[in-house]
């Protein structure tokens, strides 16, 4: 089986141990890099000792000062964990959307999540201020409301919530929510900067609180999406064909959209709008490892986590000790990388 995971000629139906191993090693490397490198130069040996010290039955004096220890435990670790969770959730949601809508341009924000969260966050910031813990909650609510509205509209519009109808409903809902957000922002121009910095993504100032907020949604979302990987393969052959196999496309779509929305809304609520991960990571996985969703989904989860951890590492080191918005990094690195993979890959879009 060795090498099969990277061989584009062989149809692959499940993740080979090699591909899985490579993905895990990349993720582990990204996490370690994220912990060892930062705006402040801490000796890698000491950071590793500090980490090992917390393991059970291990006691090592790392020699880090209280502040340096806080940098590792209160700043770098939660940031790496959160980047990993957000990346994994967005990539899984993107992969699942691409499958369930059979559309290569689908990303987690397809059905209005971003616009809904943006409106929710704006209303929250305008009414209670950006420091309030209410903001992530209303952003989450806005995101879920937007997708629910998209779904309802898709049903009303007929076509039995077919993929294309839903996408168009999503466009309408996103446009409407964005318009309302712009209007609210205009009425409260003094909060523009806060709204803007929220929209740009904000992994820079997160701590364990945010990790705790997102973790349940991220885990539920990713697990549910992973459980649907086989059904997504069935859907890939076409809705009617799927129906003859006893798979209801609209039912799968509902579950996938619900799970993806839960995760994406959580990710956006704590991390802001981070683009590109959900679109590009599944494609890169598809081009490198195979087109079955049984391969794409698990590898997207790992790859998305690794990608965003590395992107965040870039965000805090490129101009260190200044920060660069993470969305800039994901697009700046993801775009060209995607182009290279696309060019060298022999596999086109499709099952």
């Amino acid at each position: 089986m060795s090498g099969a995971g990277l061989n584009p000629e062989r149809p692959l139906r499940r993740v080979g141990p090699l591909a899985l191993g490579v993905a895990l090693v990349v993720l582990l490397g990204a996490v370690l890099a994220g912990l060892l490198v930062g705006a402040v130069g801490l000796s890698p040996g000491r950071v590793l000792a500090e980490l090992a010290d917390r393991l059970p039955w291990v006691s090592i004096d790392s020699g880090l000062t209280e502040q340096q220890s806080a940098i590792v435990w209160e700043l770098r670790l939660p940031r790496v964990v959160l980047a990993g969770l957000v990346g994994a959730t967005l990539a899984a949601a993107g992969a699942a959307y691409q499958g369930v809508f059979r559309n290569p341009l689908a990303d987690p924000y397809l059905l209005g999540v971003a616009a809904g969260a943006g409106l929710g966050a704006t209303l929250g910031i305008v009414s209670v201020g950006s420091a309030s813990a209410v903001v992530p909650a209303v952003a989450f609510a806005g995101a879920v409301a937007a997708v629910a509205l998209t779904y309802a509209l898709g049903g009303v519009a007929g076509g039995g919530r077919a993929g294309t109808t839903l996408i168009l409903a999503g466009v309408a809902v996103a446009a409407f929510f964005t318009a309302v957000q712009t209007f609210v922002q205009q009425r409260h121009a003094d909060t523009v900067r806060e709204v803007y910095s929220w929209i740009l993504g904000r992994l820079s100032t997160v701590g364990w609180t945010e990790v705790g907020l997102l973790a349940p949604y991220a885990v539920v979302s990713v697990v549910v999406l992973l459980l649907h990987r086989r059904l997504l393969d069935v859907l890939a052959v076409g809705e009617e064909e799927a129906a003859t196999l006893g798979v209801s496309a609209s039912r799968v779509r509902l579950l996938v959209v619900a799970a993806a929305t839960l995760g994406t809304a959580g990710a956006v609520a704590v991390g802001g709008l981070i683009g590109f991960v959900g679109l590009v990571v599944p494609h890169i996985v598809r081009l490198l490892a195979g087109s079955s969703y049984r391969v794409i989904l698990p590898l997207s989860v790992l790859g998305g986590a690794a990608f965003l951890v590395l992107a965040d590492l870039g965000a805090r080191t490129v101009l260190s000790p200044a920060e660069v918005p993470i969305g800039v990094i994901t697009a700046f690195v993801g775009g060209p990388f995607f182009a290279v993979v696309l060019r060298s890959g022999r596999r086109g879009w499709g099952p």
């Binding site: 930062g38 705006a39 402040v40 209280e66 502040q67 340096q68 806080a70 940098i71 435990w73 209160e74 700043l75 770098r76 939660p78 201020g129 950006s130 420091a131 309030s132 205009q186 121009a189 003094d190 909060t191 523009v192 900067r193 806060e194 910095s197 904000r202 820079s204 100032t205 997160v206 701590g207 364990w208 609180t209 805090r316 101009l319 260190s320 000790p321 200044a322 920060e323 660069v324 918005p325």
Partner: protein
């Protein structure tokens, strides 16, 4: 017109300034009373003492302007302080100091258009930035328009005050204000104890750790007090870098100056609650200074107050 007969708004009582670290330190008190006085009694001299037509920064103002539009809060504060309040017919929505300014008819600073401004039939318009052809458009309508961009130094501020004095016919009040401000700044600077190592500070513009360097207007102002800015090492060319939280922790500044108390609800308490920040000496030692965002952002007469508040916190 005489100061006591001015309509209520600019009386010293509504010098309503939010100094959170309200301590009766003589410095602040002095600076505040001075600002309040300047705001209230700028108009001692009779209007129209200037000479017209006046040429100010390339703009020709044919006669004493009676309908002035100010599209920036800083310029509004200056206009009040030099006794041009009577001439103001409209300000932008951020102009809220002194309190009377909030009651003037409002322009939307984010949607400044030639028509919206011209609707007030102004004979002088003061802008701090041009969203695009606004100055040209107003000039084409025969409305003299001054463009006074955000300053880089205190000297620029004095220049703008003098320019506004000349343009509105209050040159004497303007130069008096400049003299008083300069004297106050000099006094604050002279009171800085020499010898010891310069205290370091972190200046916060928003909770995502946007800061500013000594190269900016406010940074340059604080340098007068002999303070060292931790963001200088992080300058990304803009003067307003977003700092990495771990950098702030490692730098462990002596003082944390919060200019995001109004906009973003930050306080010594919220700063202490941030992950890892509790270990900072500024937090543990109660050296987190809560500034008034508005005072910290504007370049009007109250820059003296900003300096005084920081000087009091650092060298009390």
């Amino acid at each position: 017109m005489a100061c006591p007969h001015r309509p209520g708004p600019s009386s010293p009582t509504d010098g309503e300034v939010r100094v959170r670290r309200a301590r009766s330190a003589p410095w602040t008190a002095l600076a505040l009373s001075f600002v309040a006085l300047a705001a209230a009694c700028g108009g001692e001299t009779a209007p129209g003492t200037g000479s017209f037509p006046a040429d100010v920064g390339g703009t020709r103002i044919p006669a004493y302007p009676e309908r002035v539009v100010s599209a920036a809060a800083s310029h509004t504060e200056i206009l009040y302080a030099i006794g041009a309040a009577e001439q103001l017919v409209a300000t932008d929505q951020f102009s809220d100091y002194p309190a009377a300014a909030a009651a003037t008819p409002k322009l939307d600073a984010f949607n400044l258009g030639v028509e919206a401004v011209a609707a007030f039939a102004p004979d002088l318009v003061v802008l701090s930035f041009d969203p695009g052809d606004l100055q040209a458009g107003l000039t084409a309508l025969g409305i003299p328009t001054l463009l006074l961009a955000p300053p880089a130094t205190l000297e620029d501020v004095y220049g703008q005050i003098d320019a506004l004095g000349e343009a509105t016919g209050h040159p004497a009040e303007a130069s008096a204000l400049v003299r008083e401000m300069a004297a106050e700044v000099a006094r604050l600077a002279a009171a800085v104890p020499g010898g010891a190592a310069a205290p370091t500070y972190y200046y916060e513009l928003d909770p995502t750790l946007y800061s500013l360097t000594s190269g900016t207007f406010v940074g340059g102002l604080l340098a007068v007090l002999g303070l060292e800015n931790i963001a200088d090492a992080a300058d990304d060319g803009t003067g307003y870098p977003q700092l990495s939280p771990e950098y702030v922790l490692a730098a462990d500044p002596d003082y944390i100056l919060l200019a995001d108390t109004r906009c973003c609800g930050q306080s010594a308490r919220t700063v202490a609650d941030r992950p890892g920040w509790g270990s900072l000496q500024a937090v543990a030692g109660g050296r987190v200074v809560e500034l008034d965002d508005d005072v910290a952002q504007r370049w009007g007469p109250r820059v003296v107050e900003l300096l005084a508040v920081v000087a009091e916190a650092v060298y009390r």
